[in-house]
């Protein structure tokens, strides 16, 4: 190969000499040599590229570190906020840059898992509450307790203990919830007024805000506005990835639960009554956006939807008046349901230590207050002040206080399970059977329980 390299180098010399070579060496051999040289160069290039990034030396502040964090938001407002925090971090750590990678919510866990297993692991990422136990059990998440507790100004004890429950195993800390966000009702105030209806907040004040009142309002508005639905499930994904977040709030208001103590309780009479109410909204009243249909609340195509504080960013250019209210009550009271998301560091990532430090920075008191405009915090100090009630100026403080702050204080996450990905898949195939006009709700929910009970048992 050496020899060939030298020969080929002479190819740049005057044409007469080149012609001489061509006369001596048969064309096939010449071609073979050229190709060998090309191959050698290619291999050399690959070889040089492979060991390009030796592990950064401990405490070396000059080595550039490019962190990558996966998120499921694509909202410009959210990303601007996140990038602002990364910029601020850079001021103290000029060698560290952070890139936020958006993976859509529906495919988040499976695409993230492919990246982790496929040799392209991110350094850190948003972790969904439902996948937390599976990730922790499989050793995917790094224990960042040392970084958090070692820094006095971080004030680890300030993180509310119930909110941390899902993310800690004795002393180890596998994530910091940056969002402990209650599900609330977003409603189109103009539509309620046009229909001459009391708004959800007025009903709430009168103690008459129930799921039946919601169904009544949805029916009235849908009947009066052709092409508009009365009610849309959370992100219109209530028949697929958000099936639990669609049904469990109603089920809890009726006194039921998804599962408890390793046994499915979705087929209890309370749960059946709750799901029947929603089924009737879809097929009897035809007031809820049916499966497979579009009905975007945020563009005025539905009068109500379930959402979280982060969805306020979608209403920036809304052409209608809107407000938020707590989810309605049922026969068993008005329980709040929260959805949690945490920041976690991946063991497999290239820079776990730097990533842990950045996660600590992102969830310190100052940045938690910043994130609070979209992501309700788990820090007692931020919740205790009025900071939360004025966190997002787009919402009137009274509504924010009534729906969000109360929700954070009282809200409970969905039941968790280390086999949740499998439970979810098995249940969804059964839940699908609900969505026809003549479905027998009790029988379908019995089928859900039959499918997931074997997976729930410890």
């Amino acid at each position: 190969v050496q020899n060939s390299v030298q020969r080929s180098a002479t190819d740049a010399t005057p044409p007469s000499y080149q012609k001489g070579i061509a006369m001596i060496v048969p064309p096939a051999r010449q071609l073979a040599r050229l190709l060998l040289v090309a191959l050698a160069l290619l291999l050399a290039a690959c070889g040089a590229a492979a060991p390009a990034s030796p592990p950064a030396a401990e405490g070396d502040a000059d080595t550039p570190v490019a962190l990558r964090m996966t998120v499921w938001t694509g909202s410009e407002a959210h990303l601007a906020l996140l990038n602002g925090i990364a910029e601020a971090y850079r001021a103290d750590h000029p060698n560290v840059s952070v890139q936020f990678d958006t993976i859509p919510f529906d495919d988040y866990t499976s695409k993230l898992t492919i990246q982790l297993a496929g040799g392209n692991p991110p350094d850190a990422g948003w972790i969904l509450e439902t996948t937390a136990p599976a990730f922790i059990d499989a050793g995917v998440l790094a224990d960042i307790g040392g970084t958090l507790k070692g820094d006095e100004s971080y004030d680890y004890a300030d993180l509310s203990a119930p909110a941390m429950g899902l993310w800690t195993r004795s002393e180890a800390v596998y994530g910091v919830p940056f969002s402990t966000s209650p599900f609330v009702l977003f409603y189109n105030q103009d539509m309620f007024e046009a229909a001459g209806l009391q708004t959800p907040n007025e009903l709430q004040a009168a103690g008459a805000w129930t799921w039946e009142a919601l169904a009544d309002a949805a029916r009235t508005i849908a009947a009066e506005n052709p092409g508009v639905y009365g009610f849309e499930t959370v992100d219109n994904a209530g028949y697929s990835s958000r099936i639990w977040h669609n049904l469990v709030p109603i089920v809890r208001a009726y006194g039921g639960e998804a599962w408890a103590d390793g046994t499915c309780t979705m087929a209890s009479p309370e749960a059946v009554a709750a799901v029947q109410l929603y089924h009737d909204m879809v097929y009897v009243d035809q007031s809820a956006v049916p499966p497979g249909e579009q009905g975007d609340f945020y563009t005025g195509a539905s009068a109500m939807t379930v959402g979280q504080l982060s969805r306020v960013s979608k209403l920036k250019d809304a052409t209608f008046a809107w407000d938020i209210a707590p989810l309605p009550a049922g026969p068993a009271g008005q329980p709040a349901v929260v959805g949690q998301a945490a920041l976690g560091v991946f063991n497999a990532g290239p820079h776990p230590e730097e990533a842990a430090d950045f996660v600590a920075f992102m969830t310190n008191k100052e940045n938690t207050a910043k994130l609070a405009q979209f992501f309700p915090p788990a820090r007692s100090s931020v919740l205790a002040t009025d900071a939360m009630a004025t966190a997002n100026p787009a919402i009137n403080p009274q509504s924010l206080n009534g729906a969000i702050v109360t929700g954070i204080e009282q809200g409970v996450v969905l039941p968790s399970h280390s086999e949740f990905p499998k439970i979810d898949l098995a249940a969804r195939a059964e839940f699908d059977k609900l969505w026809s006009p003549d479905a027998d709700v009790a029988a379908v929910l019995g089928g859900v329980c039959a499918a997931i009970d074997p997976l729930l048992q410890p």
Binding site: P26, L31, L35, L116, A117, P290, E293, P421, R428, K433
Partner: protein, 301 residues
């Protein structure tokens, strides 16, 4: 001897040049096709999760579970059978019918050939997504058109039986153009003498088709059948984009089930075992079709 030596050298050099020319392709094949293929066989003997680095060799346990305990696998096999059983006859019959119609030099025939071939070159993703919108329960184009005729269409992709029918029909419309083109080319190549002889003998068009055209098309038909059957077993993108295997697993077919086990359930070992079964099934079907060739294909040399 003295003459042959330089010739042998030249021949070897040519061979080296040849191998070097195919080297990039070969390296790609080894790294991205053969390697993963062998890995699938290896993984199928292990219990391994996509989440965890722990790997346990389990021998043939995955296959035992597959055939003995996995009720969902039986559903999946049945679904694949229904899908192939619906798609293959529909696709081949429609392709042959269209080819027979469009083989005549009629006015506007080029327009119709282009029309039926256009879906083949359309992106599969765009095709599936547009159809998903057209098949919506209330606002979908299909049901809007049906309602003009006073028919209340079902929520196509959300009701188990209809969902399977919908994915089959939309898949046929996507792929039928290619088979039509193959039949068209074969029809143009038919020896005119046989057809003329049949006409002289007083055969009616059906007799000509049944006893002349169809037997002469047999090699083409066999080839079309093989690629359509294999294609129907390999369907994935279409299912992923239109139904995600739902509703209630009604369109959960083999390849999608491999994806489901590997990337939604994270059971990589089990998914590999499934892939091996799929491989064996496809291979068996292809061999069967080739062995049937003798019986149905008369004029092949």
């Amino acid at each position: 001897m003295q003459l042959s030596l330089p010739r042998r050298r030249a021949g070897r050099d040519e061979a080296v040049a040849g191998y070097l020319l195919v080297a990039p392709q070969l390296a790609g094949f080894l790294a991205f096709v053969l390697g993963p293929l062998l890995a699938v066989f290896w993984f199928s003997l292990q219990e391994r999760s996509l989440l965890s680095p722990v790997v346990t060799p389990v021998g043939l346990q995955n296959f035992a579970t597959l055939f003995a305990d996995d009720a969902l696998f039986r559903t999946v096999l049945w679904n694949s059978l229904v899908f192939a059983g619906g798609l293959v006859p529909l696709n081949v019959a429609l392709a042959l019918g269209l080819a027979l119609l469009l083989a005549r030099p009629l006015f506007g025939v080029t327009f119709f050939r282009t029309l039926f071939f256009a879906p083949v070159v359309t992106s599969a993703v765009a095709w599936a997504i547009v159809w998903r919108f057209m098949l919506q329960g209330e606002q979908g184009t299909v049901n809007q058109l049906l309602s003009l005729g006073g028919i209340a269409g079902p929520n196509w992709l959300r009701e188990p039986g209809w969902a399977m029918a919908a994915v089959i029909v939309t898949r046929v419309l996507k792929g039928v153009g290619l088979n039509m083109l193959i039949f068209l080319a074969a029809l143009k190549d038919l020896p005119q003498d046989y057809l003329d002889a049949a006409r002289v003998d007083g055969a009616n068009p059906w007799q000509t088709f049944r006893h002349i055209t169809l037997p002469l098309l047999a090699p083409t038909t066999l080839m079309v059948l093989v690629i359509t059957v294999i294609g129907s077993l390999k369907v994935f993108d279409h299912i992923m984009l239109m139904t995600e295997g739902g509703p209630a697993n009604a369109t959960l077919v083999l390849v999608y089930y491999v994806y489901y086990q590997a990337f939604r359930n994270f059971e990589l070992g089990y998914a590999s075992a499934l892939a091996v079964v799929l491989f064996a099934l496809t291979l068996a079907l292809t061999l069967l079709q080739w062995s049937l060739r003798r019986r149905f294909v008369y004029n092949e040399q």
